[in-house]
Homo-oligomer: 476 residues x 2
């Protein structure tokens, strides 16, 4: 390395990292990498799909034990038929405020056949760790543990809240908060979830989109029919679904459900400035993702994430590929998620969706329709919204606590990208609603982590950086 | 039973069955039902997917052995890398014409998980036999064997031709016929395939629709993306596919591909009369299939089958149901079959289809596109037409041989429904093209046989009736 280059790197390092707790965390981490990874692998090896209650509890118990080992008072908060919430607390004598760190220990459902390596057998490969929840969202839990180990000494009271059914839509989290208001109260909730910016710069999100999901099934003949002997006469549910889904969005990506955009709260001047200042990574991202076009072009990704979306997350009817056969399918199903922005209500969005389906000529049912129902209506759609949805939130960037979090993050990791609303969803509205507490999201995972898909992973460097970030936030 | 009712039933029976060979076949069958079923089950137990070359050969060898046992000179006609054609022959001294009986011994691809009982373990239940190819198309082979056993004595020369890759689109059958013209020549080919009328009346089809199949895959991001972090920006291939498929048909079922209907040959007066005379079973069929509407209403099924169709036979993108996750899928695929009527050319139809996809803004590839191809085009579609398609045929009902076949069928089984074109496809154009021989289709299977789907079956009564039909046709 040339002398001048080394000098500039040193400058850049100094500018990026001025926080003493972060500097200490890095130094500590460099001497304990194997031990950190061992603990991480131990946690990743426990399957954590929210519906798998036995293993969910093994995860929760393991996290409790890990925190207790560090002297953090930790326990499970229980409710009937609910995955336990892990709650930990560090009381700091003389502290005048409380910081609450949130993460979730459950992971997205998966199909192991799609994975290159088994999802609950963590593998270190090419400087990444592959496993379900490696990034979403067990990494922040491990980063916090390592930051504590590195000697980070809080000035505030600290609480840890780790949820066990976030990927199932947090159906019970709001009730648990309501029932334990004092326990969970604090001056701010720091949400440790989601990815940093695609440039790998740190990112602070002051809000997150809400979500509503819905599954739609439409019906053709009672049983699959020979497409030769009945084609042109028997209604094809795949084509019916196509017509229905086509009615939901126009070619430029605008959702055509009536009143969908009615109640959206506009962005503030600070928020608009933050979006304009964000790095433009779109062309690089298109290359990384092999994209020849984007849906909302010429608008940038960060702009488009401030708007609500409607996404077909899965679609199925009969079979394709080698197993395709010449049938008229009996049913066709689409699974849809809608990402909501501040001002939209998730329950009302489902109601608007159903009304839209009705306007396309469908009779709506909520469970499998009987022969009578099918025969007495031209078109029948089963519309089910099982997973609990929730609303978007957006914390003002102008609040003192917002400015303080920006300061802590940038002192640990250098200039941060500040986004009013991140694209993903976390149940922040429940926190605001139950506790009246603002939230700020401080992610650590790499953006290219295959979150919610197969081969989920975290870059080891992101885990290391996350430890330094957590050290800065714990000592804020 | 009242005397008068018994009298009318007797009359009806007599009217229905005047053919001595059929009467003899019934009597023989009544004494040998178990033996017939044993032989049928033995044949059904051999898996017969066209791609499974080892088992395909076991089927062919078994059929050869079964015919040889009856003294019929039978052998395999081979070509390199082609499933063998079973060929059998009965030479009748003094005969002035040759009747060729066609069936196929291969079956549709399947997913065993969808079946109530294993597809190659035949089961007799509720007076039906369940197994792949129980109806499509091993039943006619067994019916012919039983008719021979019953003593049916041909007046014509008889040839048997059993194909082994019909369900794969008969990619090689035309070449084999061309290469063996004398061997396969005859005065008429009797096609033993497809179902009888839904009223369970016998049916004679003077033609069949042709077919062209195509698989279309469209591309979103290189890998599945988190639908929160990228939704609104990354193109969703499921929605792209929806827009593309939507452009193919209007709401009343008309295909919107330019020039799709251009070259269709109109129906003759006799053909129109036959359609008008066919029983109207549509309302019963709607009840049987739990349908509240039909695609081409108010037109009848039999009318609609005289027109070309475009059918989505399967559609898939990411996952639905319990395995759905919040992703933007990476690809979306639809499998499509188009049923063609006389005058349409299957290769031209594929060309028109591709041109239509191009007009929707797609760059077309025939294998998985490279990153470069994806990045340098707004939209890319892989359009593959692997399975060999073929054209429709229609034999005039006014020919002497047509009238003779009608006579034989009605003397065996009573008044028949006569359709100019049946909805399903069989490679009849290859026969006409290679040999210059007309074809007439004489099916035996029940319409509700789950042909091409899971739980395929044949009513035992349809097998028994089929034996009587084959006895009449063999002695024509």
């Amino acid at each position: 390395m040339g002398r001048i280059l080394a000098f500039f790197l040193a400058i850049s390092f100094t500018q990026a990292q001025t926080n003493p707790a972060s500097i200490a965390a890095r130094s500590w981490r460099e001497g304990h990498e194997q031990a950190i990874l061992d603990e991480f692998f131990q946690l990743l090896a426990v399957p954590n799909i929210a519906s798998d209650q036995v293993n969910i509890r093994r995860n929760a118990d393991m996290i409790v034990a890990m925190f207790k080992k560090r002297g953090v008072a930790t326990r499970l908060v229980e409710a009937p038929d609910v995955n336990p919430v892990v709650f930990g607390e560090i009381r700091t004598p003389g502290a005048t405020r409380t910081l609450v760190f949130y993460a979730h220990y459950d992971g997205q459902p998966l199909d192991p056949k799609e994975w290159a390596t088994p999802p609950f057998t963590p593998v270190l490969k090419d400087q990444r760790i592959y496993a379900r929840s490696a990034s979403d969202d067990k990494a922040p839990i491990i980063a916090i543990l390592a930051a504590i180990d590195s000697g980070a000494k809080p000035k505030s009271n600290i609480k840890f809240v780790f949820e066990g059914e976030e990927e199932a839509g947090s159906p019970n989290f709001g009730h648990i908060l309501e029932a334990n208001k004092d326990l969970f109260s604090g001056d701010v909730w720091l949400i440790c979830d989601g990815p940093v910016h695609q440039t790998r710069k740190p990112l602070i999100a002051f809000g997150a989109r809400g979500i509503a999901t819905v599954d739609v099934t439409v019906y053709g003949p009672k049983r699959e029919l020979h497409s030769g002997h009945y084609g042109n006469w028997a209604p094809n549910p795949a084509m019916m679904l196509v017509k229905l889904l086509n009615s939901l969005k126009n070619d430029s990506g605008r959702v055509l459900i009536d009143h969908y955009y009615d109640n959206i709260e506009p962005l503030s001047a600070t928020e608009k400035r933050a979006i304009a200042a964000a790095p433009d990574f779109d062309e690089e991202l298109k290359k990384e993702l092999w994209l020849g076009s984007t849906e909302g072009a010429p608008k940038k990704l960060i702009e488009l994430l401030q708007k609500p979306s409607l996404n077909i997350r899965g679609m199925a009817s009969a079979r394709v590929g080698a197993q395709a056969s010449n049938v008229i399918p009996s049913t066709a199903t689409a699974s849809i998620d809608m990402r909501l922005v501040k001002g939209m209500d998730h329950k009302q969005v489902i109601a608007l969706f159903k009304e839209h389906v009705r306007k396309q000529g469908y009779f709506i049912v909520e469970s499998d329709p009987s022969a009578d129902v099918l025969m007495s209506h031209e078109r029948v759609a089963k519309v089910v919204s099982k997973e609990g949805g929730y609303n978007a939130v957006r914390t003002s960037m102008d609040l003192p606590i917002s400015k303080e979090v920006i300061g802590a993050v940038e002192s640990a990791r250098g200039p941060a990208v500040k986004v009013p609303t991140m694209g993903g969803s976390v149940p922040l509205d429940m926190i605001e609603h139950a506790l009246g507490t603002q939230t700020i999201t401080v992610p650590i995972a790499n953006h290219d982590n295959n979150q919610h898909s197969y081969n989920e992973n975290i870059r080891v460097q992101n885990l290391w950086d996350g430890i330094e970030l957590m050290a800065a936030l714990l000592t804020m």
